[in-house]
Symmetry: C2
Subunit: 194 residues, 2 copies
């Protein structure tokens, strides 16, 4: 069960799969059902992308496969290994840096990896799972561990699991108000709608 301290009350009503999301540092020692993992991946699959390039690539490891698990954990920075080792699954995300149709650089490749990760995250929350995304990876370790070819760039890692009842990070979730980042007319000038 997620930590009730992490519940968010948005200023405007939004979907539960968005408001109930948070990034746990503690997980139940419970494997993730394969059907649920497939649903998470399928959610990512249907994301939007520039020219429908689908620049995302995922390397998946589950905790029940000890060799694969240690390989994936070894691609995280030390501080992330400490807590992520207790998750149920890890995904290393990569971006194809150039478009397939003309080999030109795809300026939004990692943006579109973010879109796919967002879909995955919403689906996870809807299925009672939580995800914790990390920029703190060792890109060189990803490249060497998985023999990543030229043209693909490691982006993030995503830990997936059942959130523990008590979350070590007990600070409430906070965000800037809309007035600080939704502009109209000029950059920095709050849009009257918010």
């Amino acid at each position: 069960m997620p930590d009730p301290n992490k519940l968010t009350v948005p200023d405007h009503p939004i979907l539960d799969c968005l408001s109930q999301r948070y990034s746990p540092y503690a997980y139940e020692p419970k494997p993730i059902e394969p059907d649920k993992l497939r649903a998470l991946l399928e959610a990512a699959r249907w994301s939007a992308s520039s020219f429908n390039e689908q620049p995302w690539r995922f390397v998946l490891a589950t905790r029940d496969d000890e060799t694969a698990w240690q390989a994936a954990l070894g691609c995280l920075v030390e501080a992330n290994q400490q807590w992520a080792q207790h998750a149920g699954a890890l995904i290393l995300t990569l971006a194809k840096t150039n478009f397939t149709y003309n080999d030109a650089p795809n300026r939004v490749a990692i943006h579109d990896v973010g879109l796919a990760a967002g879909n995955l995250s919403a689906q996870a929350t809807a299925l009672g799972l939580h995800v914790h995304q990390m920029a703190g990876i060792d890109g060189d370790a990803v490249r060497s561990t998985y023999d990543v070819p030229e043209g693909f760039e490691p982006v993030t890692a995503i830990a997936i699991g059942y959130a523990a009842d008590a979350e070590p990070d007990d600070k409430p979730r906070t965000r800037k108000p809309l007035s600080e980042w939704v502009f109209g007319g000029t950059f920095g000038q709050t849009h009257p709608l918010v």
Copy 2:
């Protein structure tokens, strides 16, 4: 009403707010309710980001404000202006390129803008709206139109509206199968789960 030809039947069950999403080129001439726009922005607000930086900045224009509308449209490449002029609202997204806490480059800033845009997109679909994201913007026009300061980078534009019954792009939605991009062991080797 969305074009029924654009309905997606996923291989594994996923949320309606993800499967019913597509990127329309045609919109009903109907304004977007301000409460719905606020819900979309609130959904973006609660997205994850590295160090909770929230690097996203949005410039919002609605079609009922003619001056603001033309200014925003002028930041799109010509081909996108043609269809996006009929949407109900436009958002230009920008990323804060460096972290606020230490001024170091934020490698995942535009990835995290993508996460926020994904939340917005899911919320829009749940509210009967559709969004069409574009990488095809004129970054210099964004900078000059809105007097964007150093440290912020134009990323995408997002058209928002009520999808028309008949969608000019009548091709069905397609995606690579999971087996082409979900790997285990080595990059390029399909994970047995999929």
